[in-house]
Amino acid sequence: MEKNYTISIYTENSVGLLNRVSAIFQRRHINIISITSSVSEIEQVSRFVIVVRLTEAAVKKVVGQIEKQIEVIKAFYHTDEETIFQESALYKVASKSLFEERHIQNIIKESHANIVTVNTDFFVIEKTGFRHETEQLYNDLAPYGLLQFVRSGRISVTKDPMNIKALLTKFND
């Protein structure tokens, strides 16, 4: 059965690794739903968070191929239930609608979104949450005209520990 899986990849911080990792998906025609790359809790170690929709058998094979890459320290896959995850979205709306359409102010308040910036031409709202929450806000604001919209990839941490530090210490001794 296909499911959303979050693949977390701890890597050395090296140029070209993204290319190596993405080629693994591309070769197998696997659509990446979202991808985020950032520093991790360990100095000099990067972390990719990739969301895909696959069967568990398939995600296991992909993770095996990813782990095989020299500069990958460790890769994991998790179901939504095993992780805490969020996405961020930014909504840019014309300022005049904020003043003309009272209703917008209610939408913002009810959605627990933050106003990032306001000026005479436009204002920007930020909402972090689950996909259905950022989508809800999108649907609510759309009728008033969105000048721009963007949503980040999923960021996620696991409920259980990952123990990368232990892995790296083991290597060092």
Partner: protein, 565 residues
């Protein structure tokens, strides 16, 4: 080691190679790699460079060298077209797990990304076909990166590494010192052995009545031939091989039951679907071995001994996976198994062999028709070489015949392009093989099609006098494709007939002793003459044009659907 003050990046590259024990490299010069070649000139007495006639030839020569010697093969090319010409060989080394380091020149770092003359993104291009690759833009990185390159290429499951060096990094100077790489923290070449998995495997084998070993190149790459032989003999389990695994034990070993896969033997293919335990050792269940996975060994418990965790459950699910280097895991398993006679089980192999002998082998090896068969050429080579030769085969019908019928006394003797099936592989690979095993006889078996893909390497043979014996089995067809056209495309021979030149004249043009054979009575003496020569030798054997290789598992069919005609 002592620090060498203020040396150029190019000189540093050479010291790195020498530190890694390299004394022979294959390559082709050009603009972006000229500083390196200039240094090479000064180190000729320590580091021999073989100028191939095409960069693809350099990669295959390095592969041939690596496969017979167990050492890392090294090749060098310039940027742009030089680098892209390496790609086929790199892909071949990747899929066949051959340790190789490729050095490429690159445009100066300030021109990177500007579409400079002969700039190609060889790092991007080679990423999916290298175990690791890296671009050096600063000379000071050279020692550490090169040490890592060799370590990665040869450790664990070996593979090709490409190091791209910008021209400025070759010119720049720095203080050089070298430290061998002993580990990379994000890379675990040898998975930890789990003894409980070995116990579990032994427990499965203890109950087995009809077990079958299928071994692959892992035994050879792991230098585990002794351990493997001990295990095979201690357990008395029948053992079949993949085309890259053959020669790990002598062909005439009584427990050798033959070759698996598309053109493998009838017995091991059929009985794969009758065995109760399939013990896979250092092999990866390639689709040319398994045929349709839906009907592959479904009745059997599968034990998989494998160094690469990504291979476990990739194609065939393992009931017991024993991760690790087979050199370490096989003795552990051997301690835990007892010999059983398997009398009826061996009789089943014998029965299948007898059927295959009548329907296929007899006609291949002892033909009664006028035309020469590829099989009888192999038989003559076996005889004349005493099964001691390294056989390097190209890709096609002759390859399958060579793998089926060549007999071996020594390991690392069957050099062929297995996973990629690269036509043009054999001629340059044979050159590398001869240089990697100078005391051994090296015989290349090549089709008339594949020969013309890297025919220019006759020039390398002439220049180096590498004493390879080149046998072209000429059927005036792209035989293997023609066979498929005959069997599956109603004999529509679309673009498979070849109008060939006079190959003997071409060889003569390179001043290589040569002969053409068209009849049975000439064959034996010609092979004898070839084997007696201590120089390069070219032998063209005109064989029957429309002979087919059997048995055959049609692609996508089950191993049980193997055809004998």
């Amino acid at each position: 080691m002592k620090i060498k003050k203020n040396i150029s990046g190019s000189e540093a590259l050479i010291h790195c190679l020498l530190e890694e024990g390299v004394d022979l490299i294959y390559g082709y010069p050009g603009g972006a790699i000229m500083p390196f070649y200039d240094e090479l000139y000064k180190f000729q007495d320590k580091l021999q460079h073989v100028l191939t006639r095409h960069e693809q030839g350099a990669t295959h020569a390095a592969q041939g060298f690596a496969r017979v010697s167990g050492r890392v093969g090294v090749c060098v090319a310039t940027s742009g077209p030089g680098a892209t010409n390496l790609v086929t060989g790199i892909a071949d080394a990747m899929i066949d797990s051959t340790p190789m380091v490729c050095l490429t020149g690159q445009v100066p770092s300030h021109l990177l990304g500007s579409d400079a003359f002969q700039e190609t993104d060889i790092i991007g291009i080679s990423t999916p076909v290298t175990k690791w690759n890296y671009q050096i833009t600063n000379a000071a990185e050279i020692p550490e990166v090169m040490a890592k390159a060799f370590y990665i290429a040869r450790s664990g499951r070996p593979g090709p590494v490409l190091i791209d060096v910008t021209k400025d990094a070759q010119f720049d100077t720095f203080d050089f010192s070298y430290k061998h790489c002993t580990g990379v923290r994000s890379y675990k070449p040898l998975p930890k052995i789990d003894v409980t998995a070995v116990d579990a495997a032994a427990a499965v084998l203890a109950k087995a009545k009809k077990p079958l070993i299928v071994w692959g190149q892992g035994v050879i790459l792991g230098k585990a031939e002794e351990e493997f032989k001990n295990f095979v003999e201690k357990s008395n389990i029948p053992a079949a091989w993949t085309i890259l695994g053959v020669s790990a034990i002598p062909t005439d070993h009584p427990q050798n039951v033959g070759m698996v896969g598309m053109h493998g033997n009838y017995g091991p293919n059929m009985l794969t679907n009758e065995c109760d335990v399939l013990l896979a050792i250092g092999m990866r269940f390639d689709d040319r071995v398994t045929g349709s996975l839906d009907t592959y060994a479904k009745q059997a418990k599968v034990i998989h001994l494998e160094i690469d965790p990504a291979e476990i459950n990739k194609n065939v699910d393992a009931d017991v996976a024993v991760l690790g280097d087979v050199k370490s895991t096989l003795p552990l398993l051997a301690e835990r198994v007892a010999s059983k006679p398997y009398t009826e089980w061996y009789a089943a192999f014998k029965k299948h062999h007898d059927i295959e002998f009548e329907k296929v082998i007899k006609g291949d090896l002892h033909p009664t028709k006028d035309g020469l068969s590829m099989g009888e050429v192999l038989k003559e080579i076996n005889r004349a070489s005493n099964s001691d030769a390294v056989v390097v085969s190209d890709v096609g019908q002759h390859q399958m015949i060579a793998c089926r019928y060549a007999t071996f006394n020594h390991s690392k003797s069957n050099i062929t392009s297995g996973g990629l099936g690269t036509m043009g592989f054999a001629l340059p690979a044979a050159i590398g093989a001869k240089m990697g095993a100078p005391d051994r006889e090296v015989v290349a078996i090549i089709g008339d099609g594949g020969f013309q893909m890297t025919i220019q390497e006759l020039g390398t043979i002439f220049q180096t006098q590498a004493a390879v014996k080149v046998v072209v089995l000429n059927n005036d067809f792209l035989g293997m494709v023609r066979q498929w056209q005959q069997l599956f495309f109603d004999k529509r021979y679309a673009s498979t007939e070849m109008v060939n030149p006079d190959f003997v004249k071409i060889a003569e043009g390179y001043f290589i002793d040569s002969k053409r054979v068209t009849s049975r009575k000439e064959l034996g003496p010609a092979v004898d003459e070839m084997m007696a020569s201590d120089k390069p030798y070219f032998l063209e054997v005109c064989v029957e044009k429309e002979h087919n290789v059997f048995p055959m598992i049609p692609s996508g069919a089950s191993v049980s659907d193997i055809r004998l005609s």
